[in-house]
C-alpha cells in the first residue's frame, strides 16, 4: 500500500507509552467504547440468527474473493452500461492522480467529501491540496478532525478522542478559516455543536459541484454502489453535485442483492448498534434529471491483491469496517487510535496495515504485537475474521521471516533485525526445553537464588518490574517434588 505514512512514526509500544499516560484521553475512550460496546451487545442479542448471518457473511465474502476478477469485470460492465466510467488504480498515488485529473477537468477548485476510509488510506485530501483543490469533509467527526489539523483515531468515530469542550474550541477557532464561522457564544452542548456544523456545512452542500465518496458495498449484478450513514451528509453529497467520484477498494464488491441483504443486517448493529442506519444511499451509474450527471468509479487495489495471495491473511479482506473490534479491544481503549499510525486503528488495523504496507518499518513491524491475544475482537467480528490467527501469522513473518507477495511477485521477507536478541533468547530457551534435565537444572538454579528477589530488574527486565512485582520462586519445582515423593513412578 502506498499512501501517506507519517514520517518517523514511532513503533506502537512507544506511541502507546505516551498515550496511556494521557488521563483525559483514557477517560474519553473508556466512556465512549464502553457505551457503544453495551449497546452493540443488546442490538446483536435481538437477532436469533446472528451466528448464521455471521457465517453467511464470511462465506459470501470468501466465495466472492475467490473469483474477485470475475465480479469486478462484471461490475465494470454494469456501471459502464448505466452511464458511469470505471477507472482502475493499482496504488494510492494512481488513485489520487485519477481523482485530481477528474476534478481538474470540471474546472472546480473545491470538492465535498463523504466520510471515506479509502481516501484516508490514499491521502487524497493532501494530494488534492497540492493540486490547488480544497476538499471539505462533511461527516461531523471528520469535520472536527479536519478543522483541528488532526488525524482520525477510529474507523467510525474519527474524533472519538475529542471531548465536547475541545470540539467547541476547534469550531470557534477554526471554522472561519474554512467557511462560515461558528456562531457567537457557541456552547459545548451537543445540539449547539451539531447546529454549528450544520450551518457551516449547509452553504458548502448548496455550492459544491463535485463530490468524492467511498462506498460500503458495490453490487456487481446491477453495478450499484451503496453508502450507509447516519447524518445525511452523505445523501447531500451523493445527490446535489454535478459530478460524483467514488474511490472504492476492490474487496467491497458483492455479487448480488441477496448477498447485500446479509451485510445490511450485520453492519448497522455491529457499528452503531442500530437495527437500521438512518440513511442508506444506492445509485447505479447516472440518471437524467436526477442526481449527478457524471459518475466515476475508481477501483483501488493498493496491496489488496497481494493480501489476497496470502492463505491466512486474506480473511482480513472480508472486513466491512464496522469497528466492533475497536470498541471491544482493551488495547485500543488504553492506547488510542493514533498509536496505530494508520487510518485503520485497533485490532483490524494491526492485521490490515502490515499486510497492505508491508512489515519493513518499525511501526508496521510492531503492529502484529499490539495485542494480548484475548480474542474479544474475533468474538464480535460480524464477518468472523480470526484476528488472533492473522496476528500470529504476521508475528511469524516479522520474527522468523517468510514469504509474502509484493506487487504481484512472491518475495522472501527477512527476519526483522530488531528481533535479533530475542531470536537468540528464543533459540536458547527452545534448546533448554528440549531437555527435561536442562530444564530441571535451570529450575534448581532459580530455587537456589530465590532469596535474591529484586524489586526492580535492570535492562529489558524493567518492562516487567516497573509496574509489577516478580513472583516468588519456590524451593522445589513440581517435577522435583514428584520425583522425590513418587520417585520413578513414571517415565
Amino acid at each position: 500500500m502506498s499512501g501517506p505514512v507519517p514520517l518517523g512514526m514511532p513503533a506502537f509500544p512507544d506511541a502507546a507509552a505516551v498515550s496511556t499516560r494521557d488521563a483525559r484521553l483514557r477517560a474519553t475512550l473508556r466512556h465512549a467504547t464502553r457505551t457503544i460496546r453495551a449497546k452493540r451487545g443488546a442490538a446483536v442479542a435481538e437477532l436469533d440468527d446472528w451466528r448464521q448471518l455471521r457465517a453467511a457473511a464470511a462465506a459470501v465474502k470468501d466465495r466472492t474473493l475467490r473469483h474477485l476478477d470475475h465480479h469486478l469485470v462484471r461490475l465494470e460492465e454494469r456501471v459502464t452500461a448505466a452511464g458511469g466510467t470505471v477507472h482502475w488504480a493499482a496504488d494510492a498515488d494512481e488513485a489520487n492522480r485519477i481523482v485530481t485529473a477528474l476534478v481538474r477537468e470540471t474546472g472546480e477548485r473545491e470538492v465535498l467529501k463523504v466520510k471515506s476510509m479509502t481516501t484516508q488510506e490514499t491521502g487524497l485530501n493532501a494530494a488534492l491540496a497540492e493540486a490547488g483543490v480544497r476538499a471539505y469533509e462533511t461527516d461531523l467527526a471528520e469535520l472536527i478532525v479536519q478543522l483541528g489539523d488532526d488525524l482520525p483515531s477510529h474507523l467510525l468515530v474519527p474524533a472519538i478522542h475529542r471531548g465536547r469542550s475541545e470540539i467547541r474550541g476547534i469550531f470557534r477557532d477554526r471554522m472561519a478559516d474554512w467557511g462560515r464561522p461558528a456562531p457567537a457564544g457557541l456552547t459545548d452542548r451537543p445540539a449547539d455543536l451539531a447546529e454549528a456544523a450544520r450551518l457551516h456545512l449547509r452553504e458548502k452542500f448548496l455550492r459544491a459541484r463535485v463530490a468524492v465518496s467511498g462506498a460500503n458495498f458495490m453490487v456487481a449484478e446491477t453495478g450499484t454502489l451503496v453508502v450507509v450513514e447516519s447524518e445525511g451528509n452523505g445523501r447531500m453529497c451523493l445527490t446535489l453535485p454535478e459530478t460524483l467520484i467514488s474511490v472504492v477498494g476492490i474487496e467491497k464488491v458483492v455479487p448480488t442483492w441477496r448477498d447485500l441483504e446479509v451485510y445490511l443486517q450485520l453492519l448497522p448493529r455491529s457499528s452503531t448498534a442500530e437495527r437500521m442506519n438512518p440513511y442508506t444511499s444506492m445509485w447505479t451509474g447516472t440518471t437524467d434529471g436526477d442526481g449527478p450527471r457524471a459518475f466515476h468509479l475508481v477501483l483501488l487495489d493498493n496491496g489488496r491483491t497481494d493480501t489476497l495471495a496470502d492463505a491466512v491473511g486474506r480473511q482480513v479482506l472480508r472486513c466491512i469496517r464496522c469497528s466492533a473490534c475497536l470498541n471491544v479491544c482493551p488495547v485500543y481503549e488504553r492506547a488510542g487510535g493514533h498509536a496505530y499510525g494508520s487510518p485503520y486503528p485497533g485490532p483490524i488495523g494491526a492485521v490490515l496495515t502490515p499486510q497492505l504496507r508491508g512489515t519493513a518499518s518499525a511501526l508496521e513491524e510492531s503492529l502484529p504485537f499490539a495485542s494480548s491475544l484475548c480474542g474479544a475482537c474475533y468474538e464480535v467480528c460480524p464477518v468472523a475474521i480470526d484476528i488472533p490467527e492473522v496476528l500470529l501469522h504476521l508475528r511469524e513473518r516479522v520474527a522468523e521471516g517468510g514469504e509474502a507477495t509484493v506487487r504481484g511477485v512472491r518475495a522472501v521477507v527477512r527476519p526483522a533485525r530488531r528481533h535479533a536478541l530475542e531470536r537468540g533468547l528464543m533459540a536458547a530457551a527452545g534448546l533448554t526445553l528440549q531437555h527435561p534435565g536442562a530444564l530441571r537444572s535451570g529450575q534448581r538454579l532459580a530455587a537456589r537464588l530465590r532469596r535474591l528477589r529484586p524489586r526492580r530488574l535492570p535492562g529489558p527486565g524493567r518492562a516487567w518490574t516497573d509496574s509489577r512485582d516478580l513472583p516468588e520462586v519456590p524451593e522445589e519445582s513440581f517435577r522435583d517434588w514428584w520425583a522425590r515423593t513418587r520417585g520413578g513412578a513414571s517415565s
Binding site: V331, C374, R395, V398, G430, L433, S477, F478
Partner: protein
Amino acid sequence: MVQRPPRVALHITCVNDTLYPRTGRAVVTLLERLGVRVDFPMAQTCCGQPFLNSGYRRRAEPLVRRHAAAFRGYDHVVTPSGSCAAMVREQHPRVAARSGDDGLTAAVAEVASRTYELTEYLVDVLGVTDVGAHYPHTVTYHPTCHGLRTLGLGDRPRRLLEHVKGLELRELPGAEECCGFGGTFAVKNPAVSAAMGRDKARAVTATGARALCAVDNSCLMHIGGVLTRQGSPVRPVHLAEILAATEGDAR
C-alpha cells in the same frame, strides 16, 4: 468384564512446574481424592505457546512434537491452565499441519482430543461439581481469556466454586475483560499491559474479596504482581488450590 481404570496424565505446564508447584500438588490431591490415579510424564516440558505467540512457530514445532510424544497413550490429559489447554487443542493441530508431517498431525490430533482443562475434566468427564472442598473465605473469580473464549469454559468454574463450603463468591465487575498479561505482550507492550493490569487489579480490590481466583497462574502472576505493587491485600489463588482445600487444612 472388568473395566480398566483410565490412564490419566497431568500436564503441569512449564509456568506451574517452575513457579507454582503448589498448584500441581493441589491438582494431584484433588484428583486422588476423587479416585483418579494421576501420572506425571517426566518428558513433558513446555507446550510451546510462548514461542508460537511470539512468532517463532519453527521453534514451537519440536516442543509440539515432544508434547505429543510425552502424552501418547493416555486416556485423559488434564492441565490446570486454560491457556495451555487452548494451545494444545487449537494451535498444536495448526502447527502440525504447517509442518507437513502427517505422523505429527495424527499424534497431535490424538492428544488434543484427550486434553482437558481441569474444570472441564471435573465437570464433563468426572461429572462432579461438588468436590468436597472447604475454603472459608471471600473469593472473586476472573475468567481468563483463552478459557473463556477459546475453550468456552462457560460456568464450569463458577459451578465448582459455588459448591465449595464456606466460600463466598464476589462478583468481579468487567470480569470478561483481559487482564493485560498476554505472554510476551506483558514486556513488549509494557505500558498498555500495565494499564490493563492496574484497571483489573483495582476492580479486584474493590470487590473486597480476600482472594482472586482463576484457572491460569500466568494471568494471576501478572495481576498478583500489580496487586502487591499497589499494596492490595487480595492474594491470587489458582482454582485448583481452592478445590483441593478441605476442612482439616490450616489456612
